[in-house]
């Protein structure tokens, strides 16, 4: 991997630097809210990055990724509710639960292809949504308030805004590094090979669905981590966060930024959530602008923002 200096890399570097320095800006200007806002953006960026791994590189269009956000979040919330506040227990449970869920639904869903795959992942996510709504001990539809954030001993204080921000940012960069290692490994190349030509990869002896499944589970686990972070960020978890529209929003973030581009989902998430925040401040009819914008991006800007930036190099 040779690092090139081109527009997209410059933008990525600027965004990364901006994210690193944001707490400083927040301290200097006294604008706490911008830190709160970007903590949420970073967590969603991690979720979008995990979706990008299977969508952009694996060719698996999961329409049920919000389920992992819920599972990771409920693992933290339920354990906290039952009096287990240690993050050293909560977080591994969140990751393992997400991985197990991904393993089971992945094994079943990967029998299907195309639109059928989109629909079966949606079906499983909806089932998870209804199960969460039915857990009356944990608030059912009303959700569950988390009174104490995960406790990591004296290591890190999640209630401290700046520390929590850097933890989320660390998870995001760590997640992206992991994804970068995966896609450049032999395993990752096989997965991408299966995406472009499954029959050929089968013919040379790769068991396509096993590779797909492993990739699917890794993606689900990373998204489960995002779920644990999100629950800590909102101090609250409810089934509403697992509804199918949330899965749709994650897909939009990935496509906005550029599918199959390492940093695309991060850029896309920042763009999508900031645009939503800004438009909703100007007008209640923000969807009247957002909707056609989405259509235009799909029609004319294939490859999303990263694709557009890439064109500057060529043009």
């Amino acid at each position: 991997m040779k690092l090139q200096i081109n527009t997209s890399n410059v933008v990525v570097a600027l965004v990364a630097a901006g994210l690193l320095l944001l707490p400083l800006y927040s301290q200097l200007t006294g604008n706490i809210f911008i830190l709160t806002l970007f903590t949420r953006i970073i967590i969603f960026a991690l979720a979008a990055a995990s979706l990008n791994l299977i969508m952009g590189y694996g060719g698996m269009m999961s329409f049920g990724h919000a389920a992992y956000l819920g599972i990771g979040g409920y693992a933290v919330g339920i354990l906290a509710f039952e009096g287990i506040g240690s993050g050293f227990i909560q977080w591994p449970v969140a990751l393992v639960a997400s991985a197990l869920y991904a393993l089971v639904i992945g094994a079943l869903s990967l029998r299907t292809r195309g639109v059928y795959f989109i629909m079966i992942t949606l079906a499983f996510a909806q089932m998870a949504y209804y199960i969460a709504s039915g857990m009356s001990r944990y608030g059912g539809d009303d959700g569950l308030t988390i009174y104490k954030r995960s406790n990591f001993g004296g290591l890190i204080d999640l209630s401290n805004r700046v520390q929590f921000y850097y933890l989320c940012l660390g998870c995001l960069f760590g997640g992206i590094y992991l994804i970068w290692r995966i896609i450049n490994s032999r395993f990752g190349l096989v997965v991408q090979g299966i995406r472009s030509n499954e029959q050929r990869m089968q013919a040379i002896g790769y068991h396509a669905n096993r590779y797909r499944l492993v990739c699917f589970v890794i993606s689900g686990t990373i998204c489960g981590l995002a779920g644990a972070l999100l629950a800590n960020n909102t101090d609250f978890i409810s089934p509403a966060g697992m509804y199918w529209t949330r899965s749709g929003e994650l897909m939009v973030m990935v496509v906005f930024g550029g599918m199959g581009s390492l940093f695309g989902p991060v850029i896309g998430t920042i763009f999508f959530l900031l645009l939503e925040e800004l438009l909703s401040q100007f007008t209640e009819y923000w969807a009247l602008i957002m909707g056609p914008l989405l259509l235009l991006i799909v029609l004319f800007a294939r490859g999303g923002i990263m694709g557009l930036l890439g064109r500057f190099n060529r043009g």
Partner: protein, 390 residues
Amino acid sequence: MKKTFWLAGAMALALAQPALGADSIKIGFVSTFSGPTAAIGNDMRNSFELALDHLGRKMDGKPVEVIYEDDGQKPDVGKQKTEKLIQSDKVDFIVGYIWSNVLLASLKTAVDAKTFLISANAGPSQLAGELCSPYVFSTSWQNDQTPQAMGTYMNQKGVKSVFLIGPNYAAGKDMLAGVKSTFKGQVVGEEYTVWPSQLDFSAELTKAKNSKAESIFVFYPGAAGVQFLNQYAQAGIKAQIPLYTAFTIDELSLPLQKENALGVPGAQQWVNDLPNPENKKFVEDYRKKYPNLRPTFYGAQSYDAANLINSAVVAVKGDTTKKDAMKAEMEKANFKSVRGPFKYGKNHIPIQNFYLQDVVKDADGQLALKTVATIVKDSQDGFHDKCPMK
């Protein structure tokens, strides 16, 4: 490329809104202004604006600034908007909240920041019980209170048996539990429907019809209430089994329910024709300011919220840093409520009357809600014992 930076700059500027002059009273208002339930949020905003008009848009001589935020009926969005209002806009009060789950998600942020939060609708049991807080007040009710009143009314009417139908979510369960706690007759059946996606109630109606129950009780807020009433009337059950309701018929749903709602009773702590001067002024001026619209109980609660805040601001002579004094004043409920006088319990939930409302044709031949009787006086919620506040 330049454009990208320009856009980023514009975004940063817009996010870093300058703090306005400290010499105003700042109020944040979180409600639903988009999506299928936006009509409720609009009514709350209309009523709040009207209340400010009536106050001369000033509280103790200081200008009032209100920032409205849309929660989109999503808990995490509501929480984020609450954070924005408190951290970025630094509001003195935060008002609104239609939905229990949005309120519960936002509650901790407000309480931790010691910002007064006034719920103008949502009334989950936790708010009245273990989650009660010195900084949280309600101008509405606790979920169970309204159906409890309905159960009491059904006893008064001598109803012997009931079939209960409600949506399968927390408020739905609260509502059915509320009726059961006061209704003395027999509950012959209890059905929960999928919320919010179930649209067709034919299976439940058929069961109710065949259960030989003497009455049906339902709780279906918003559009679901319209659907249920349409289907209830079309199935021909209206002539056979009378219906009793909570939060199913209001001024927003009535224009859609039309004749189907005629003669169907409901319980409410506020009705548009309550005979006190404040209420007359509220309803008349509302209809003048917003032609073609009628105020709902959501609006009445928001109108009260503005006046509750005003009473606190006046008591501390505009010095909103005196939180203890403001809390003490609000606990007195020392303002003219459009529902008539009420008291606060130690958990800051109103102790208030509940009325029986019915749908009738008014003088113009239009359908309207009308107070028929007082069902219970000074009803207090059943969770105040769990509230640790003194």
